[in-house]
């Protein structure tokens, strides 16, 4: 285990400028102080809305104050066509530090990489990486194989277009799938490029426990990538077969979320 990097000249000399951020919240009817607030971070192209569909309410129903942030350029946050990855991580840390108590960070897809970067800037109570896309050329390879024409432009700074079969299982009704696909936007070309180049995130601060969840049937994240991320954080992934990449929108959305919340409750994180 290497030590954290404390010289942060770039953050000091060129701090990320502020941006208006969308935060959606579901509050438990009976607040339970023993449960930490949870902040959900969507993947590239998704917004806080993706969690507002099911996960926020469900988490609140189980007593967790649940929040979802749209990083700049996503959802209803301020447009940011030139944003870097670190600006997304900055947005997450800003919202987390603004919560009344130490929060759990949950990131999905490339949002998991954003969370991994945020964990190096904020001592979260715990971190959860759901179907993490940590990037690199293997991810690109898989994406090209499943969706050549949606992916190719992204490799050259264009838009990434994800296909239905990459994101959802067959169990999700067609109209819902179509509606979600319509709402999906895209991250900045700069951030997409950084994802591809995949510089590993710095060590988390405060040694938070980290859980990795995913599905072996993910057509965005190869199984090997899932294992690799989990190993990095000293564990094995928790698997939900038969689901598509978008765990929070696919038909069986309650299963992974309940597993995450069980893990949080059990560990008293």
């Amino acid at each position: 285990m290497t030590s954290v990097r404390i010289m942060r000249t770039r953050d000091w000399a060129h701090p990320v400028p502020p941006a208006r951020r969308e935060v959606l919240t579901a509050t438990p009817e009976l607040p339970d102080d023993s449960k930490p607030p949870v902040l959900f971070v969507p993947g590239f192209g998704h917004g806080a809305w993706a969690y507002a569909e099911h996960w926020l309410e469900h988490a609140a129903g189980r007593g967790f104050a649940a929040h979802a942030v749209s990083p700049r350029g996503h959802g209803n946050s301020e447009p940011a066509p030139k944003a870097e990855l670190r600006a997304y991580a900055h947005d997450v840390v800003q919202v987390a530090a603004g919560l009344p108590r130490q929060a759990v960070l949950v990131g999905h897809g490339a949002g998991a990489l954003v969370v991994a970067h945020a964990l190096a800037r904020y001592p979260a109570r715990a971190g959860v990486l759901a179907a993490p896309v940590f990037g690199g050329w293997a991810t690109l390879g898989l994406a090209l194989r499943h969706n050549l024409f949606g992916t190719l432009p992204a490799a050259f700074g264009g838009k990434l277009r994800l296909a239905r079969r990459q994101l959802f299982s067959r169990a999700l009704p067609e109209p819902a799938a179509r509606e979600y696909l319509r709402r999906i936007g895209h991250a900045s070309p700069r951030a997409q490029w950084e994802l591809l180049r995949s510089r590993p995130p710095e060590e988390p601060v405060g040694a938070p426990p980290v859980l990795v969840v995913g599905t072996p049937d993910d057509r965005v994240v190869p199984r090997s990538a899932l294992d690799k991320v989990a190993r990095r954080y000293g564990g094995a992934p928790l698997l939900f077969p038969g689901m598509g990449h978008d765990l929070m929108l696919d038909a069986r959305w309650p299963e992974p979320l309940d597993a995450i919340l069980d893990w949080l409750e059990k560990g008293e994180h």
Partner: protein, 471 residues
Amino acid sequence: MSTANDSFDPSTTLWRDGRPVYDRRDTVCVVGAGASGLAAVKNLREHGFGVDCYERETSVGGAWNWRHDRSPVYANTHLISSKPFTQFPDFPMPDTWPDYPHHSQLLSYLERYADHFDLNSHVWFGTEVVKVEPADDTSWDVTTRSAGGVGSERTHRYLAVVLANGHNWAPKQPAYEGLDEFRGQTIHASAYKDPKELRGRRVLVVGGGNTGCDIAVEAATSASQTWHSTRRGYWYLPKYLLGRPADQVNDQMQATRLPLGVRQWLAARTLRLTVGDQSRFGLPKPDHKVFETHPISNSQLIYHLGHGTITPVPDVKRFHRSGVELTDGRQVEPDLVVFATGYLPRFEFLAPEILGADEHGRPTLYLHAFPRTYPTLAVAGLLQPDSGLFPLVHWQTVLIARWLRLRDRDLERAAAFWSRASADVGKRWNRARVKDSTRHWFEVNHVDYLRALQGALDELSPATATARSTR
């Protein structure tokens, strides 16, 4: 929140000089709940230590808590270090805040930090530490009493002690011939709170630190006449250079790792081009290079000199009944003299030799934190950085926590670390040759200091890996 120690449940009672000592030997004691103390509590807790923090005031914030009578901040205090250098590296200030927030924002920031990480439940407020003494092993006996002076003293034995009592409390009061007979009013800057106190008066401000410059600027718009006395020439850095906070521009330059001499030349050049020739404003030429005194960050001083609303004068020679004689022979007749001559670090609750104090009472420490012969004692925040304090004190307290962890787990490796580190006891972390003055012995360059901390943290880090796997 707790206000008395009565709910401690000591398992064993020990004795010292006929008094009972309550055993808290699995716990670390932190003195003070200012920025440094709070960071210490948080980072010790994060490394798995139990913590008792004692704070003589009734709430957190230390110097930044203007509600406390003793606080050295005045109504218009704004930060001198811009936000990225002032916030804790793992708890940023809101990015919508200005570059140089107001002191009341700093207090609310520290209060939120304490709430967010649930630190208040580890702090005993209204409790003053009056004595810190080594016990027979490496543990410490800490004697406290309620800050109001009521109630009896109590002593607890701790695994280790972190002193975070701050160093801007004891005024450095200069002595002058004739001061007794002077008919005007004299105060130390620590007692100055609000420009109302200056309104319509003839004010002499003594001292060219940030306090002196800030108060001179406040006097310029409130007092009927303002003199600003400095005993040397300084480099007055504006808060903005090229439209950006000056410290951010400076760090960009430091990152290039250009030799110090080149950076000094570049900085002097930049100042020459932006501020211009200071002697035009009646100021003496600096008697040192840039970066050799604690930086002054003030854009308005030069502006008011240009308006004639501040008159620069040299050092005070002596006082007379009705006026002040300056070293150039001039006489001025203020009715209020403000001594902005700084503060002296004080550790009244501790025998001076424990911190290796020299003949001036200045501790001799490794990384300004660790005394040579007491491995379970550390000082947090005894730094005068050329930037904000919080990032430095954050990593410093992380290092303290890791050091105590390593001692706990692997005495042999701890000894090996210390035998290397002890060569650096008393070392100054500043490549610039800082001016020999009463205030510069703990002046650090933040880059030099943080690099040294990084080195020490890297050496200690496998200990954290063990800590993590056994959680």
